[in-house]
């Protein structure tokens, strides 16, 4: 049985699944219920001078009938008094000593103000501090959040202030709303940060109401840009995590955030070097109970792969990301279509013709237009069972003429047909021997 116990920059907890700072960690009662559900840690809703929120606060992007592919919020930090938050942190830590409670902090950019909030948080019993340099809306207009995280010098300076007094590990939460996230990651490291959290939400406008012409979320006739998160942002987050994980000037632990909803995403972030992962949107969508399958699924996957601890696989994928110029130009794959499992939807065919390289074909037709014209011209009548010798549409077997064929000589191995095929393992991308040794673009340039 895999061991999920975690030691992240000195913060210990039963598993690497933390709730990210946000609505699910707004108060002590919530955090205790989350720990009961199985979460290993929680980053408290950002503590600072209480703010006033607006209503409404969230908007989302639905896709093909699925809700909340992406979520956007314009909520600010905690609207509760600092003392209340700290009192509840103390209570949670008393009742759940083995779970990690991280205080997320955001205050005015003044040394003594930061000193004060750090001391009070640690006195309350926080296991670590996460400095919120990432929140992209509202607070940034007041010189906090991403206004700090977008300027490496500010990030370094405030990290230094915090480290002057902090006794617990200090995490810096990074904003993705910056040209090169590594500049701030390095600055945080220079300032003495113990770890990084990445990524915070991405600046976004999720959509516009086509009746009122007002973007969402709607607040009294207007809207404002928010922070985007949820499944849609995972690829962006993975890339930014990879950027800082592979940067030799950074070299401190990373708590991965961005679109993590299950054990698969968690494993992906860990393979790119993360020590813990943080979840918010998925818990907002389905509740704390989702952590059960995250723990169970990750354990089963680790058992299957022979990984005993999280350290056994953390970072394994980092060296597999390289620059394009190092990729092998002589590696070649082609698409193969399995005629037995093809259902004849012909999505690969039209995708190849309109979106790729015109190398998937249907017998008897030189172009998609001639196929469509032939179908339109065909005379079809309703088959009358038992009178029409059963020429009735037989859905059980794919008509051979609907099964496309790949011209392997022309196939560039782009993957598009394989991506659009709805049937598992029907299209496979198979390696063919080019007879040429591996050679990258860089090597080719050097030769000439």
């Amino acid at each position: 049985m895999a061991d999920l116990t975690t030691n992240f920059a000195g913060i210990r907890c039963p598993n690497p699944f933390w709730l990210a700072s946000g609505p699910p960690t707004n108060c002590g009662d919530q955090v205790m219920r989350a720990f009961d559900a199985g979460w290993g840690g929680a980053v408290w809703k950002t503590i600072g001078e209480p703010i006033v929120n607006v209503s409404s606060r969230y908007s989302s992007v639905d896709w093909n009938g699925q809700r909340m592919m992406g979520l956007n919020n314009i909520e600010l930090i905690s609207d509760r008094p600092i003392e209340t938050n700290l009192r509840e942190i103390a209570e949670v830590k008393k009742r759940y000593p083995k779970h990690a409670v991280i205080a997320s902090l955001m205050v005015d950019s003044k040394r003594d103000v930061w000193h004060d909030i750090v001391k009070r948080s640690e006195d309350a019993g926080a296991d670590g501090l996460e400095l919120n340099f990432g929140c992209p809306h509202g607070m940034s207009e007041r010189g906090m959040g991403s206004a700090v995280g977008q300027v490496p010098e500010y990030s370094c300076m405030i990290t230094e202030w915090v480290k002057e007094v902090a006794r617990t590990p200090v995490l810096i939460k990074l904003t993705p709303n910056i040209t090169d996230i590594r500049t701030v990651a390095r600055a945080a490291r220079r300032g003495g940060a113990d770890a990084l959290s990445a990524i915070n939400t991405i600046n976004s406008i999720t959509g516009i109401d086509l009746d009122t012409f007002t973007p969402r979320p709607y607040v009294g006739g207007s809207s404002s840009h928010g922070g985007y998160c949820g499944p849609a942002v995972k690829p962006i987050a993975l890339h930014l995590v990879q950027q800082i994980a592979s940067d030799t000037e950074v070299g401190i632990p990373i708590s991965g955030i961005g679109g993590i909803a299950g054990w698969r995403e968690a494993a992906e972030f860990m393979l790119l070097g993360c020590g813990t992962v943080q979840v918010c949107t998925a818990a907002m969508h389905y509740g704390y109970r989702i952590v059960e399958d995250m723990i169970d699924g990750l354990s089963n996957w680790m058992d299957e792969k022979g990984f005993r601890t999280l350290d056994d696989f953390r970072g394994l994928s980092v060296p597999k990301v390289t620059e394009w110029k190092h990729l092998d130009l002589n590696y070649k794959i082609v698409a193969r279509i399995d005629r037995d499992t093809c259902i004849g939807c012909d999505l690969c065919y039209i995708a190849c013709w309109d979106g790729a390289h015109q190398c998937i074909h249907i017998d008897g037709h030189s172009r998609p237009e001639s196929l469509e014209a032939a179908s339109h011209a065909r005379l079809t009548v309703t088959p009358i069972a038992k009178l029409d010798a059963l020429q009735a549409a037989n859905g059980k077997k794919t008509p051979p003429e609907r099964i496309p064929k790949v011209d392997e000589a022309e196939c560039v191995g782009c993957n598009l047909c394989w991506l659009v095929c709805p049937v598992a393992n029907c299209i496979t991308m198979e390696q063919v021997d080019t007879g040429r040794p591996a050679q990258s673009w860089e090597q080719r340039c050097q030769q000439h």
Partner: protein, 445 residues
């Protein structure tokens, strides 16, 4: 049929929808399940070639008017077809989802959702201005003629539909079982065709309105008058009270509020109309409904899903029995006398012939007898149409154009194909319309 009254209210309770309508949430979820196949098999399997994935994706995108117009562009009777089409052997039968180990997309119900939404909004198709002075006549007011007339009108041609009944729509209005299609929906479609500018006239073509007269007034005549009355059994006692053929039976219960069926009903025949009549008899209150067919389950021409549904309705099936007489009591049918049959060699249709077994007669008491032996051909009208070739009572046409041997005459629907589905009639009418429009252009540059 002298009365225009269609009795609707009672039927709503006795004949609830066979397939209940989708609400918008369910329609959206189902629409999103569609893979959006290229050159989709469902479209190919539809005689009218409705672009099924296109109208389904328009439901998913929230473009409901566009969805309905996509359907109507291919099939002006999209509403009735969504109700009456045997989708199992058409679009849904061809759905690739069968091979995806999943249920096919519920295309029929999605089409109904799009059409119901369109009609509920009181929406219309834009009228098209008339171009040219040529006029075309459509004989008969059923699906083939409605489709032909709508297609012609949408292409700028002036059209008149001649129908001998008080209400147009043909079997859609008078002859389709209530749990599939309500008369009100058929009449909505008629109103839609009328709103395009098609003129409707109630007239007995071939009778008070001779074809000669129409030939003088119209450039082309489209023959879409369907079939005649149902075939007689040709046995003693057939004229007795309490014997009513299936189409008249369906028409009667749809128009007479107090139509009653008695306790025991015998239906004779193995086609889809026999099944419709048997189901209707059950719903109208008959305790026992017995369907007799001279062959067996294997040879029965009804769709297998119709047969399955009928068993659920409680209809009892009897194979290998052929009626030889209706026995009367006080002038009313009281029993049917059958003879047992045995299957012999295959006949022209490829099915084994039912041959009477000597001395195997038996009597079956009942209150109502409903023969459903198929419709006769309307040959009397056609005999006067010079140069229109007939074969086996059906009009012979070039299938791609619907053109008869007389170039002034086109034809489609049941009078051409011998009696198929509404969607086949719509496809015939549309093809003939396109061919006539092309011919008008040839004739007049």
């Amino acid at each position: 049929m002298s009365s225009a009254a269609l009795h609707v209210e009672r039927n709503l309770e006795q004949f609830p929808d066979l397939h209940p309508a989708f609400d918008s949430q369910a329609a959206l979820a189902e629409a999103n399940r569609c893979l959006f196949c290229f050159d989709a098999p469902c479209m190919g399997a539809c005689p009218t070639h409705i672009d099924v994935p296109r109208f389904i994706k328009k439901i998913a995108s929230g473009n409901l008017r566009g969805s309905a117009v996509t359907i109507l562009d291919a099939n002006i009777l999209g509403l009735s077809c969504s109700r009456v089409c045997p989708v199992d052997v058409l679009c849904e039968g061809a759905c690739v989802m069968h091979r995806y180990n999943k249920l096919p997309i519920e295309i029929g119900r999605l089409q109904r959702f799009a059409m119901d939404t369109f009609y509920a909004k009181g929406a219309h198709l834009p009228p098209v201005a008339q171009t040219g002075s040529q006029r075309i006549a459509c004989v008969g007011g059923g699906p083939a003629s409605l489709s032909c007339a709508a297609e012609l009108r949408r292409r700028g041609v002036a059209v008149t539909v001649f129908d001998n009944r008080p209400l147009p729509g043909g079997l859609n209005t008078y002859g389709v079982a209530e749990y599939k299609l309500r008369p009100a929906d058929s009449l909505r479609e008629v109103a839609m065709v009328r709103s395009l500018g098609v003129e409707f006239r109630q007239a007995e073509v071939g009778g008070a309105t001779p074809l000669d007269e129409l030939e003088g007034e119209y450039a082309f005549l489209f023959l879409g008058m369907g079939l005649g009355a149902m075939e007689r059994m040709g046995i003693p006692g057939e004229q007795a009270l309490g014997v009513i053929d299936a189409l008249r039976f369906i028409e009667r219960y749809k128009t007479l509020p107090d139509f009653s069926v008695g306790k025991t009903v015998v239906v004779i025949g193995g086609g889809n109309t026999a099944i419709d009549a048997a189901n209707a008899a059950r719903r109208l209150g008959a305790q026992d409904v017995h369907l007799f067919y001279r062959r067996t389950e294997t040879e029965m021409p009804a769709f297998s899903f119709e047969y399955d549904r009928s068993k659920v309705e409680g209809v009892q099936f009897h194979w290998l029995a052929q009626p030889v007489a209706i026995l009367e009591q006080e002038g009313r049918a009281a029993a049917v006398k059958f003879v047992r049959t045995a299957l012999g060699q295959p006949d022209a249709s490829g099915r084994r012939k039912a041959e009477p077994v000597p001395e195997s007669e038996f009597e079956f008491p009942c209150d109502l007898v409903i023969p459903a032996l198929g419709q006769s051909r309307l040959t009397s009208l056609l005999e006067s149409t010079r140069g229109v070739e007939l074969k086996g009572g059906s009009i012979v046409v070039d299938r791609a154009t619907g053109r008869t041997a007389n170039p002034r005459y086109y034809g489609g629907g049941d009078c051409v194909n011998g009696g198929r589905e509404v969607v086949d009639a719509v496809a015939d009418g549309k093809r003939a319309a396109l061919a006539m429009v092309a011919q008008l252009q040839v004739n007049h540059g």
